[in-house]
């Protein structure tokens, strides 16, 4: 196993190096990568930016930690006619919007992305995760819950299902939820007796939206609403909240790296995707460099390597078996992946289509409800 | 130095000292008492402590040591607003956001005087300073002189028995200053109020005051009516500070009662009145007012000592002639003579002899 992996890795390196050399002419020698900062960005730096730069002497890269405002900024750059970014890391929903607005380049998976080592085409290897024509998936992450293990009331079991979040009697204390309707509305309906399969049908109606808000109303006074993914781990660490939603990688860092007394509650976690897009309208040399980088950065080994640094699942099916141990902590990463069978008994996949349509409408209602 | 009996003193400073920094005394052992109705001026160069004294009296500064009494009662611990002392400031301190009438009405309002009475008093006070028509104006719309009249009226409107004035005319031009000097003294005497007036202008002090206290170095150097101050300065500082003055330095050679002889440093001998000297051999500085110097021998006493002098400069000043001489090595010796038909006009270069009455030549302390 180990030998074959090393072999695989080195062949991939050689192959990638060869293509990089062959195509090295006519490419820009610097690129601006946009990401989220923090642990996620450093996992990208370690897993594929550094190897790429090592293989391509003379190429430099700069990070811009602007992914949170990527859509707005790209739109502004596009209007100004001066796109300064080469490769941008965005969540899938943003990638869809960028694609809709014509701000991201459409890609051809089989031509622009590396095939799996066993020859499976990129299109098949990524499968359903290619949710937009412009989107090159990197990781599967999930929005899920973490709770303070030391704040679990005496005599009560640790929270293990989504409806425990809405159960103030058994689990008193503050909750941290994201200050937007997405995910919260689904969870509320699920805990108000709506079957998982019907959630979006119900949520598409006015009554369903009212129902979800009414359910959220029952815990509204105990909720601290967060805007940034780093908020919940901090609130948990400070003991400000008992339980809170955030990205699973953030919780992993708080639990395993900072040794906080926090437990994971995976029930009804919502899968989402994060990946690259290449902005539309790049000059030819920069476009060539961006494509070359993205092809390398999303190959099977690179995506598997990323999981050494952060507990997000690789977006390629072929990467999953290669996921190993954490680069520093040495612990097995697989059980910490949201996609691990033990963790993914009850999951949602972010409904891009639904939210693209209903986002504005439900958000208005949600904000009005918050302001009451 | 107070020569009024302590008992009927209206304002009294008793052994008052003041220090700001705990190291230097700004006011050193001040004793002063004034009777009711007196117009007293505190005169002195800046930094002499006169304003500090005024501020202590007003209550804006506290005495470090000693007592200040008003009408026999110690006011050391009475806050300014309860002292009932009127005050006029150099920059007028008229409240810019109020009209003249409102400014005048202010002290009456805080004394809870009824509206009709207030208006009557304000009107009277304004008429008193000939500003009756200005009630509706704002301070900024008036000239400096007008503002100072209003400030005066405001200080008087609540009928205080004591009014303090801190260089009130300092910012005005000469002519206006003279008119106001006259008006202020008249008002003070008419109303019978007691005034403490601070100035560094000696003419002002001499023309207005019943008595003048000359301050220097935190002490009263002399406290006397203007004529006495001018004619009989008690020490060199006062002599120098008040009016124009010729000084010659020398040593007392003979002293007896009201007369002494002084040998000047160039060897010449003069007659003088011993004021601040007590023994032969003491160094002294004699002072002679320019208008008391005589060069017409006929007008001098028999046997008076004469000094040789050379005319250096003759200045025609209209009402008087001012002649600068070299006397006993002093090149700034001035004499003043009245412009009269029979008056001699001295020519530069002329050699003359000058003299004076011994009582006009005061032998004071040497500095």
């Amino acid at each position: 196993m180990k030998l074959s992996k090393t072999l695989l890795a080195s062949t991939a390196l050689v192959a990638a190096g060869a293509t990089a050399y062959a195509a090295g002419h006519g490419m820009a020698d610097s690129m601006t990568l946009v990401s989220w900062g923090g642990a996620y960005q450093s996992s990208q730096q370690n897993a594929y930016v550094e190897p790429y730069l090592a293989m391509n002497e003379g190429v430099t890269s700069t990070w811009d930690e602007s992914s949170a405002e990527a859509v707005a900024k790209l739109r502004a750059m596009n209007e100004a006619g001066n796109v300064t970014w080469d490769v941008v890391d965005v969540v899938a929903a943003d990638a869809i919007r960028l694609c809709d607005e014509g701000l991201a380049l459409e890609i051809d998976p089989d031509e622009d992305l590396a095939a799996a080592p066993d020859g499976t085409s990129a299109e098949d290897d990524f499968g359903d995760l290619l949710v937009s024509d412009c989107f090159i998936p990197q990781i599967v992450y999930s929005t899920t819950f973490g709770y303070r293990t030391d704040m679990v009331p005496e005599g009560a079991a640790a929270p293990s299902q989504i409806c425990d979040v809405f159960d103030l009697e058994t689990y008193p204390g503050k909750r941290a939820l994201e200050k937007r309707p997405i995910n919260n509305m689904e969870w509320a309906l699920l805990c108000d007796g709506v079957a998982k399969a019907d959630v979006y049908d119900v949520l598409a109606t006015d009554e369903g939206q009212d129902q979800a808000l009414a359910k959220l109303d029952t815990i509204k006074d105990s909720v601290i609403w967060w805007n940034a993914g780093a908020d919940t781990p901090q609130l948990l660490a400070d003991g400000e909240v008992f339980i809170g939603s955030t990205y699973n990688g953030r919780l992993f860092a708080a639990i395993e790296e900072q040794k906080q007394p926090i437990g994971m509650m995976w029930d009804a976690q919502v899968f989402d995707l994060d990946g690259w897009i290449i902005p539309a309208g790049l000059p030819e040399d920069r476009l060539a460099r961006a494509k070359d980088f993205v092809k390398f950065a999303t190959d099977t080994q690179r995506l598997a390597d990323q999981a050494k640094y952060i507990s997000y699942g690789p977006a390629r099916a072929s990467s999953a078996p290669l996921v190993s141990t954490h680069a520093e902590l040495g612990i097995e990463m697989a059980p910490h992946m949201p996609t691990d069978p033990e963790n993914s008994k009850n999951t949602f996949l972010y409904n891009y289509e639904f939210w693209a349509d209903y986002r504005d409408d439900i958000d208005a209602k949600f904000q009005a409800w918050l302001a009451q | 130095m107070a020569d009024t009996a302590e008992t009927d003193a209206f304002v009294a400073f008793e052994r008052v000292q003041k220090s700001y920094d705990g190291e230097n005394l700004v006011v050193k052992d001040l004793n002063l008492s004034m009777p009711k109705g007196e117009f007293l001026t505190m005169l002195g160069p800046s930094g002499s402590g006169k304003t500090t004294c005024l501020m202590m009296l007003a209550g804006f500064e506290t005495a470090t040591y000693g007592e200040i009494k008003l009408d026999g009662v110690s006011i050391n611990n009475i806050p300014p607003h309860k002292r009932g002392i009127g005050m006029v400031f150099q920059n007028y301190a008229l409240f810019p956001h109020m009209t003249v009438a409102e400014n005048l009405s202010f002290p009456l309002e805080v004394r809870k005087i009824g509206k009709s009475e207030r208006e009557a008093k304000v009107k009277r006070a304004l008429d008193m300073v000939q500003m009756g028509a200005f009630g509706g104006r704002r301070p900024a719309q008036m000239s400096g002189g007008q503002q100072q009249r209003i400030a005066l009226a405001r200080a008087l409107v609540f009928e205080p028995e004591l009014v303090l004035m801190d260089e009130p005319l300092g910012a005005l031009d000469k002519q206006l200053r003279e008119t106001l000097q006259f008006e202020i003294t008249n008002l003070a005497h008419e109303l019978g109020i007691t005034v403490v007036y601070v100035t560094h202008d000696q003419t002002e002090a001499l023309t207005m005051s019943d008595r003048v206290a000359v301050f220097d170095d935190g002490r009263i150097q002399q406290l006397a009516p203007p004529d006495e101050l001018y004619e009989k300065p008690q020490n060199s500082f006062v002599a120098q500070f008040i009016g124009e003055n010729n000084t010659l330095e020398g040593t007392v050679t003979k002293i007896s009662g009201n007369h002494c002889e002084v040998r000047l440093d160039n060897g010449e001998l003069i007659d003088a009145l011993p004021v601040n000297v007590s023994a032969e051999g003491e160094r002294t500085r004699v002072s002679i007012r320019p208008e008391r110097v005589e060069f017409n021998k006929d007008r001098l006493q028999e046997g008076a000592h004469l000094l040789k002098a050379e005319v250096l400069e003759f200045i025609y000043m209209g009402d008087i002639f001012r002649t600068r001489l070299r006397v006993a090595g002093n090149e700034d010796f001035i004499i003043k003579t009245r412009n009269a038909p029979d008056q001699v006009r001295l020519e530069p270069g002329q050699q003359i002899e000058i003299g004076w009455l011994p009582e006009d030549c005061r032998a004071l302390d040497a500095i």
Partner: protein
């Protein structure tokens, strides 16, 4: 008056004249013009900077808040055809509108503009986004009907060159043939007469040619035309007689002309409803119709919790009203913050103005100290201080003033925003207050006291009125800064302590509804200007002093 010189002499008869006889006014104006010009030159860099960095963005914002060209630009034919449609008379428009929609939509879809339109219209009607995206994928269903039949008839109908020869002018085709990669592509020119013969085809092919040459920069001799041209050709052939045509590809055209009569057809309306039944819904069409004009008040209506309807502007449902609440809250909290700044800043400014300068300078450094730390750091520090497990609560619990289970909630609400923002904006109150107080001589207070006023009366009646201009200046500064504040309410405001600017930021960076954000910003600007005007009327702007 007896010794008057020339100008005053003429004063009675006419305008004053200068020495040379020109009117004095004119002469003065000329003398001043040079001065003015020089002054203008001096401020020119600043003026240009202000214009570029301030006036232009505001103008752009004002423009965006009403701009709505995207609908008529993306669907020009449809909006034209839809103008006469009466929503009350029929549920959905007739065939001609759908025909226009087909051409518009197909072209938009090829140019990737349809999803952008979908995003735009989704702000007004939920579901437009996916309707547009899905229809974009399936619009081929209609065009393929004709494309396949033409293709079956003659494979050349799916070739680039025959089409180019048929539609393009011969000299253009010649230029095209001589073109080599890297050169500039020659601009497309229609063949003479073809526009009369095949008007629709010429129009649509023209659009295709323009896009391919300008955007794609590819050769029309290599690029097969979009499937939509076949539909246009079908329609043209059905209507026209091409027997007299003798130009290039006449043979192919005539064969087709003969064949089209027997072609299988599809109705545009049926086709679209087949793609998505929402195309038959009245709501979709009224939305498109309402937002057809190039300028709209829709954003502004939205910004005041209203919406456009067929029956004119109406209030939104109560559970969707948010902006009015936010505007009200922003005003209220900005006022509270301004007031607390006055309350806290006044004594500090007084102290600064009355202390000896050495101590005052030290204190001034302390006042300015917050300016040297990042806003984010300061706000985060407040978070640490105010949260339930934070420093203040810990101290209170430790002192026994507050029970452990009833710790005070001081953050993630209005209180948190007010505390943090008062702290942050305090220097803006203190500085103008300080500089005004410095100009108030201490003798005023002394005068008041000597006149019999107690300390309080002297302060309130004499000192305070004179410091009002400073309060005015500080209040304007603080209020205007507070009203547009964004980062602090975002971090510590929770749900009840956020401002309208947070919503503007949301629409700029998250929902991308820049039109609405611009409308909200414009209203905010209007409110500030209005308040400024009211302030000027009541207090007088002359009474505002910065020192």
């Amino acid at each position: 008056m007896s010794d008057t010189s020339a100008p005053t002499e003429t004063a009675q008869s006419g305008p004053m004249l200068a020495a040379d006889g020109t009117p004095l006014k004119k002469s003065l104006a000329r003398a001043l013009r040079r001065q003015k010009l020089r002054a203008l030159l001096l401020i020119a860099p600043l003026l240009i900077f202000v214009l570029v960095s301030f006036v232009a963005p505001i103008a752009d914002m004002l423009f965006r808040s009403v701009e709505n060209q995207i609908v008529s630009e993306t669907l020009p034919r449809t909006t034209n055809a839809l103008a006469d449609w009466d929503a009350d008379a029929s549920d959905s428009p007739d065939e001609p509108v759908f025909e226009a929609l087909f051409y518009d939509f197909f072209l938009a879809q090829e140019r990737k503009l349809h999803t952008r339109l979908g995003t735009r219209l989704n702000y007004e009607m939920t579901g437009m986004s996916s309707l547009m995206r899905q229809s974009g994928r399936k619009v081929d269903d209609i065009s393929d009907v004709y494309f396949d039949q033409f293709d079956d008839l003659d494979k050349n109908w799916d070739e680039a060159e025959p089409w180019a020869q048929l539609m393009g002018a011969p000299d253009w085709v010649a230029k095209m043939e001589g073109w080599e990669k890297g050169d500039r592509l020659p601009a497309f020119k229609l063949a003479p007469g073809i526009a009369d013969l095949l008007p629709k085809t010429a129009e649509i092919y023209g659009e295709f040619a323009k896009f391919t040459i300008n955007e794609d920069e590819k050769s029309l001799l290599k690029e097969e035309p979009w499937g939509v041209v076949h539909t246009a050709l079908y329609q043209d052939l059905m209507a026209a007689d091409v027997s007299s045509y003798t130009g290039p590809q006449a043979e192919m055209l005539k064969t087709a002309d003969a064949a089209v009569v027997g072609f299988e057809t599809v109705g545009f309306k049926d086709g679209f409803i087949e793609i998505d039944e929402d195309w038959g819904s009245r709501e979709v069409w009224t939305t498109i119709q309402m937002y057809s004009p190039a300028y709209t008040n829709g954003y502004f209506l939205n910004a005041v919790d209203m919406q456009k309807t067929v029956d004119g502007p109406q209030m939104r449902d109560e559970d969707e009203q948010i902006y009015f609440t936010l505007f009200k809250r922003t005003m209220f909290m900005s006022l509270v913050i301004t007031f607390s700044c006055i309350l806290l800043g006044y004594p500090v400014a007084w102290l600064l103005a009355n202390l000896p300068s050495r101590t005052a300078n030290l204190l001034m450094i302390l006042v300015l100290l917050p300016f040297w730390t990042s806003l984010l750091v300061r706000t985060s520090a407040w978070k640490v201080m105010l949260q339930q497990q934070g420093v203040i609560n810990d101290v209170l619990v430790w002192m026994g003033l507050v029970a452990d289970e009833s710790r005070l909630v001081m953050i993630n609400n209005q209180l948190g925003t007010i505390i943090a923002m008062t702290h942050i904006l305090l220097p803006f109150m203190i500085l103008p207050l300080y500089s005004v107080m410095q100009t108030i001589p201490p003798s005023y207070l002394r005068a008041a006291k000597s006149l019999g006023a107690t300390n309080w009366t002297a302060f309130w009646r004499v000192y305070f009125p004179q410091s009002v201009p400073g309060i005015g200046a500080g209040s304007i500064l603080v209020f205007i800064l507070a009203i547009g504040y964004y980062i602090t309410p975002e971090i510590v405001g929770g749900t009840t302590g956020t401002f309208i600017s947070n919503r503007i930021a949301y629409h700029i960076s998250s929902s991308l509804n820049w039109g609405l954000a611009a409308a909200l910003g414009t209203i905010l600007l209007g409110v500030v200007l209005l308040l400024y005007y009211v302030y000027d009327k009541i207090v007088g702007i002359d009474n505002v002093k910065l020192g």
